[in-house]
Structures are given as structure tokens and as C-alpha cells.
């Protein structure tokens, strides 16, 4: 069995979704976040022409940069490795989550590390690294505010850039009161800075006492051997510069050829993610502390991770590897905002998750995700690297069909329906009967309240019936005879 699948709950999507739509606190949190995400992005994109930029041209360029990297991924990775080593960094390779954990713990042991501060890293979620560190007697402390909140709550991130977006202010207040050992207070949104300050007070002690920092990287720059970090809270800088040892964990697909490429991608990454023209902090981390420098780690380790990515290179689904993790697809997804990220069952939620989870955990282990989409195309219309997310989900649907992974009832039903639709005379006769039956069920009310052939439909809606018991073709034929 696929190692990632052991940690995936994606096969329980329907049950989890049912739970999430009925959670009023979650729905309140999502309802609040939705217009913020889409509104900020829309405003930033509308302002692009003020800077002499144009969205379609920019995303064409960004997609092109990512394609160029992916089409010769091995070459760019080798160039990256060579340049990173030349700057004093160690470059390690991990096949899967287990190897990530082993490598990180090995580095920690070699350097006598007791405590690790972490900047947000989705790769460490893929690896369940915090559990592994704790089991090895090393204390991991998440320092991104959202990640800190969910670490206190013992939860997983529900969004790739806003990990605690599923939590309300009241929930965070209750959590902080409990974990920070203080009485609970009534809070309004005006108190958010005070809560952030409270977390900062706790985190400051950890920053100063940690022996090792772990971060992800938004991109790796091949020509310089640099890891780039795009953040807003400043915690990323603390994690990557204060401790003696800095470990960067990132996917092999994150490499881009040049600094210039990075600059171009940065035109769209913050705008797509948070509506900012640039994030508060953009760090370019290259090598270790030089002899004439007073800051920075004395040991830098890159762990470059496959965990399913190499198999996607050159496949039908390669375009998903262009992803720059801005979150715009989920921020504009009607399904995501009805459920939050946890319903998706693995590390990545929303449309990009509905493609990545089947690819990284096994198509047979995430059958719902490619179908849990209305096909609305809101995701692909905002994607800054033009990933054809609906087409990729559709490709996965086709693969499920080809491999016979769909339920028997659905396969039989489709075949029977298509067989009938291919025979107009039979089709007309059966639709005539269906129209009469629907009209009889509607019982003069113009609607059916409980419909056995589509029980899902009538759980939440009526089925409007408006033909008076006769199909269009029946009525049309009659009008021609008159």
C-alpha cells in the first residue's frame, strides 16, 4: 500500500463532508473568510494595469517558467545541488515521508538538537514530521501563527496558506486561555492583535532557545543554490537565522532556473494568495554563515523530496507540478468553502488537493476527490500558473473508469442510459413515461418533495416539475399535427 495512503482519510470524504456542512462554527469561520480571500485577490488583480502588468500575459510567463523547470527537472536539480553545496549547504534527498523524518532526526542528533522551531512546511505535514520528532525526544514548535494555533489544538492545517482558517476568534481565545493558563475573556476582532502578541510572547522564548530551525521553501533557485521564503509574520526569518542549524524541506518540483524567474513568479504569488503586491518578508537564503558574517546558521541542510512527484513528471498530470501553492484555487472553490480543508482527508485541500491527493496517495485511495467538484472552473480561471485543474480532475475520473474503480451501479446506470439515448424511438417512449410519472408524483403541486430515483437531490431540495406530464417532443409532435 502507498505509504501516504496510510495517513489519508480521503476515502471517507462523503462522511466527513456531511459532518462539516452541519458544523455551524466551522461554517461561520468559512463564511467570514471567503469574501476576504476573493476580495483581496480581485482588488490586487484589478490594480495590475497600474503597474503596467497584465494578468493573462503574466500567468503565461509564470506557467512557462514552471514548465521549463519541470521539463528538465533532473538537470535543474543537479545545478541547484551543485550551487547549494558550493555555498556550504548539505543537500540530501528523500524518497518519501519516512525518509524525511529519518534524515531530519539524523541531522538533529548529529548536532545535539533538543528543540526545533518550524516555519510553515506542508512537506512536514506529508511526512508527519512533528510526531516523529516528538517520538525521538525532540520538541517541535510551530511558529507561523496559524500553525501554532493548530499545533496547540492538535489538528492539521485546513488551508495551505491559512492553516487555521477553520477556527473562529472565540475558538482561538478559548484555546489560548487553556494552553497559556489564563482566564478566558470576551473577544472581538479588535482583539486579534492582542492575541497575536500573546502568541508572540510565547514564541519568542522558543526562537531564542531552539537549536534547529525547519522551514519549507517557496522556490529553489538553481543558478544560485538559494531557497526563497515568502512570508508575512516574520517568523520565517527567526526560524531560518537564529538557530545554529537550518533544515529546508521542499519538494523537488519547487526548483526554478534563475533569480529572474523568481522575480517574475513573485509578481503573481502574493497577489494570488493574499492580494498583496509583495509579502511583508521575502527571504533569499543562500548557504551558511560566512566567516565575516555575524548571523545565520552554521549548518544548512536541504532535504529535497520526491514522495510521489517524480512519477507525475512526464505524465498526463505534469501540469499540477507547476503549482506555486498560492491557495487561489481553494479560495475560489465553492466546494472548499462549504467544507473547509479537513474534509479532503490528506495534506492538500481544494482543487489542487483533489488532484495531488490521488496522485500522491494512489488514485484508488481517493476516489471521491476528483468527483467532488461542480466543474465550475472558478479555480482554473484564477490559477496564476494556468493549471487546468478541471481537466486534471477529469483525467483522474477517466482513469477511474478505465480501471473499473467506479461503483457497479454507476457504471451500469451510465451504460443503460447511453444505450437508450442512442435509440431515439425507445428514448422518446421512455421519456414520455417518465414525464407522466414525474407529473403524477408532483401531484398538482408542481414539485416532488421526495424522489426515490434521486434521493440525494430531494434531501435538500424539491424537484420542480413543469411539463404537465408531457415531454417537449410529445407536445411538439402534437402541435405539428394540429
Amino acid at each position: 500500500m502507498n505509504a501516504n495512503a496510510r495517513h489519508s482519510q480521503a476515502m471517507h470524504f462523503t462522511a466527513r463532508a456531511a459532518d462539516k456542512v452541519r458544523n455551524p462554527v466551522l461554517q461561520q469561520a468559512l463564511q467570514k473568510a471567503k469574501p476576504l480571500f476573493s476580495g483581496k485577490r480581485a482588488k490586487a488583480m484589478a490594480a495590475l494595469p497600474d503597474d503596467g502588468l497584465e494578468f493573462e500575459a503574466l500567468r503565461e510567463a509564470c506557467a512557462g517558467i514552471r514548465d521549463r523547470a519541470l521539463n528538465d527537472l533532473d538537470v535543474w536539480l543537479e545545478i541547484f545541488e551543485e550551487n547549494a553545496r558550493a555555498r556550504g549547504a548539505e543537500v540530501l534527498w528523500a524518497r518519501d515521508g519516512g525518509e524525511i523524518c529519518d534524515l531530519v532526526i539524523d541531522v538533529a542528533r548529529r548536532h545535539g538538537v533538543k528543540k526545533v522551531t518550524k516555519s510553515k512546511s506542508m512537506l512536514s505535514e506529508e511526512a508527519h514530521l512533528n510526531d516523529a520528532l516528538a517520538a525521538a525526544g525532540i520538541e517541535p514548535v510551530e511558529t507561523d501563527l496559524g500553525e501554532y494555533i493548530i499545533q496547540l489544538a492538535g489538528e492539521a492545517p485546513s488551508h495551505i496558506i491559512a492553516p487555521a482558517v477553520h477556527k473562529t476568534l472565540q475558538e482561538v481565545e478559548a484555546l489560548f486561555a487553556e494552553k497559556h493558563g489564563r482566564p478566558q475573556a470576551a473577544r472581538t476582532s479588535a482583539d486579534i492583535p492582542a492575541l497575536a502578541k500573546e502568541a508572540r510572547g510565547v514564541l519568542r522564548q522558543h526562537f531564542l532557545s531552539a537549536d534547529m530551525g525547519i522551514s519549507g521553501a517557496n522556490f529553489l533557485i538553481a543558478e544560485t543554490g538559494t531557497a526563497t521564503l515568502v512570508t508575512n509574520e516574520g517568523n520565517g526569518r527567526m526560524v531560518t537565522t537564529l538557530p545554529r542549524v537550518h533544515v529546508v524541506i521542499t519538494g523537488i518540483e519547487k526548483v526554478v532556473p534563475t533569480l529572474q524567474d523568481f522575480a517574475t513568479l513573485m509578481r503573481l504569488l502574493p497577489r494570488s494568495a493574499t492580494g498583496q503586491t509583495i509579502s511583508n518578508y521575502v527571504s533569499l537564503l543562500t548557504g551558511t554563515r560566512a566567516d565575516d558574517e555575524s548571523e545565520g546558521p552554521t549548518k544548512t541542510v536541504f532535504i529535497l523530496v520526491d514522495n510521489g512527484r517524480a512519477d507525475v513528471v512526464g505524465s498526463h498530470y505534469q501540469d499540477i507540478l507547476r503549482c506555486i501553492r498560492c491557495g487561489a484555487c481553494m479560495n475560489h472553490c465553492p466546494v472548499y468553502f462549504s467544507l473547509g480543508g479537513h474534509a479532503y482527508g490528506w495534506v492538500y485541500p481544494g482543487p489542487m488537493g483533489s488532484v495531488l491527493t490521488p496522485l500522491y496517495t494512489g488514485i484508488e485511495n481517493a476516489l471521491d476527490l476528483p468527483h467532488a467538484s461542480t466543474g465550475c472552473r472558478q479555480c482554473s480561471s484564477v490559477c496564476p500558473v494556468r493549471i487546468p485543474l478541471p481537466e486534471l480532475m477529469h483525467g483522474l475520473r477517466q482513469e477511474q473508469q478505465r480501471r473499473g474503480l467506479r461503483p457497479w451501479g454507476e457504471r451500469f446506470g451510465l451504460r443503460a442510459w447511453a444505450w437508450i439515448a442512442g435509440r431515439p424511438t425507445l428514448y422518446r417512449a421512455l421519456t414520455r413515461i417518465a414525464a407522466r410519472y414525474l407529473n403524477w408524483l408532483a401531484d398538482g403541486e408542481g414539485r416532488i418533495r421526495l424522489f426515490g430515483f434521486a434521493p440525494g437531490w430531494t434531501t435538500a431540495r424539491d424537484l420542480p416539475v413543469a411539463g404537465g406530464g408531457k415531454t417537449f417532443f410529445e407536445q411538439y409532435a402534437a402541435s405539428k399535427r394540429d
Binding site: A17, L414, L438, G467, F473
Partner: protein, 243 residues
């Protein structure tokens, strides 16, 4: 010009009035309008489920019966998109069916696109005393770029005023089999649409895809809204809006 009306399977079974409204509007353009008699379904449900062979079989049937007209008009953005964007994809490498699919795609238009593209603007026969809010269906909007056309046409209907709702471009949660298979999620999405409709305070919500309209109407009624009308724009333009 000989125009074929592709009625769509949903209109045939669930709301024949939309088909007759479309016929009336097309006849008003002065063209020769034909309803090809063997048409059934464009095959989108099979395609959407990921069954390419079945989708191809039904596409071949539709191509054969629709390709001999000067124009094919569809009162649904979703089915028009299937013919226009998916059929050429299905037969991209097919030397026989590829050119036929592309030729049909080039002649196929959604109803509002067709009516708005005429040199002489259509004078809608209908009247509507009240306000409407327009729901942009996803396939029409993001697939075919339909946005201005239905609004321009509705703007010419005597007595009608347009009240835009917030998030009119947001999906209603229909998604074909999605609404049945993921009923809980779909209900949550259509709830947000119903809230936008209610906030707009219009007498009717109007759209161009019957799937979305059945979804929105069904949920509005279940929520207890018995008064907001839910109409296809063809019904409004043709004046077929009797309750």
C-alpha cells in the same frame, strides 16, 4: 438560414416551455427553424463521469444529426459547451470525426449568443412587469464567455428591470451528478446562492441553464420561498412566464 434547435434532454423532460420559447424567439429572427427529430442527449453526463467511449458514441450521434444545418442553437450554456469545446477534444486525433466535430462546433451557439449576434437586434415579444436578477452559469460564463448577451437581451424586455445579485458568477452547486452524489455539499453551495438571490430582492432569478435553475428553484422552495420566480431567459424574452 436553416437553424437546428437542440432542445436538450433536461428541457425535453423537465421544462418543455423553454424549448417552445426558444422556438418562438428563433422564428422571430425570420430564419427557418428545424427541430431535428432524433436528438436525445449530447452525452455530457457520460463525459462528466469520465466515460470517454460512451461520450464519443453519443457525440457521433449528435454530430450526424446536427451537422447539416447552417447553425445549431442550444438553450443551455452547458450543452453548447459540450458540443463546442468537448466534441473537438473527443475526436482530436480522428481523421474522420475530427473535422466533422470541429465543423459542428464552429456552427453551434448558445441561444443568447446567437440572438445577440444578429445584425438586427431582436425585439423580444415578451413583457415582464418586475425585476430580475441574473445567475451566470459556469459553463456558459467560463466556458463560452457568455455574460453580456443575456443581460443585453433582457434589457430590451418591456417593464423589466435588472437587479444584479452579489456573486452572480459563483457556482450554484448543481454540477450534474454532483448534486446527487454530494448532496450535502451541493445543498450548502446552493444555500449561498439562495441567500444572494434573496438579498438582491428581485421578483425572479433568471438564468440560461435548466440544471442550475432546477437546483436554485428546488432549494428556494424547500427553504420556504414560494414567491421568487425562477425562469429561463428564453421564457422571459418570449413572454412565456405564466406561473
Amino acid at each position: 438560414m436553416r437553424i437546428a434547435l437542440y432542445v436538450t434532454c433536461l428541457v425535453d423532460l423537465m421544462r418543455p416551455a423553454v424549448g417552445f420559447a426558444a422556438l418562438r424567439l428563433l422564428a422571430a429572427t425570420g430564419n427557418d427553424v428545424v427541430v431535428p427529430p432524433a436528438q436525445t442527449c449530447c452525452g455530457q453526463p457520460a463525459w462528466s463521469a469520465g466515460n470517454r467511449p460512451l461520450a464519443k458514441t453519443l457525440a457521433q450521434k449528435a454530430i450526424a444529426e446536427l451537422e447539416n444545418y447552417d447553425a445549431v442553437v442550444v438553450p443551455s450554456g452547458s450543452c453548447a459547451e459540450q458540443i463546442r469545446l468537448t466534441y473537438p477534444k473527443l475526436f482530436a486525433d480522428d481523421a474522420v470525426w475530427g473535422p466533422r466535430a470541429r465543423a459542428l462546433a464552429a456552427r453551434t451557439q448558445e441561444l443568447s449568443e446567437f440572438l445577440a449576434s444578429l445584425g438586427e437586434p431582436l425585439e423580444p415579444p415578451g413583457e415582464f412587469a418586475g425585476s430580475v436578477t441574473y445567475h451566470d452559469s459556469c459553463k456558459g460564463l467560463r466556458g463560452l464567455g457568455i455574460k453580456a448577451q443575456p443581460r443585453a437581451l433582457l434589457g430590451r424586455v418591456r417593464g423589466l428591470s435588472l437587479k444584479e445579485m452579489a456573486d452572480c458568477e459563483e457556482c450554484c452547486g448543481f454540477g450534474g451528478a454532483f448534486a446527487e452524489n454530494y448532496a450535502d455539499v451541493s445543498a450548502r453551495i446552493v444555500d449561498r446562492k439562495c441567500e444572494s438571490v434573496a438579498a438582491a430582492g428581485a421578483d425572479a432569478v433568471v438564468g440560461g441553464d435548466l440544471g442550475c435553475l432546477l437546483n436554485i428553484e428546488g432549494r428556494l422552495r424547500r427553504r420556504g420561498d414560494e414567491t421568487t420566480r425562477v425562469l429561463h431567459f428564453a421564457e422571459v424574452l418570449a413572454g412565456e412566464t405564466k406561473p
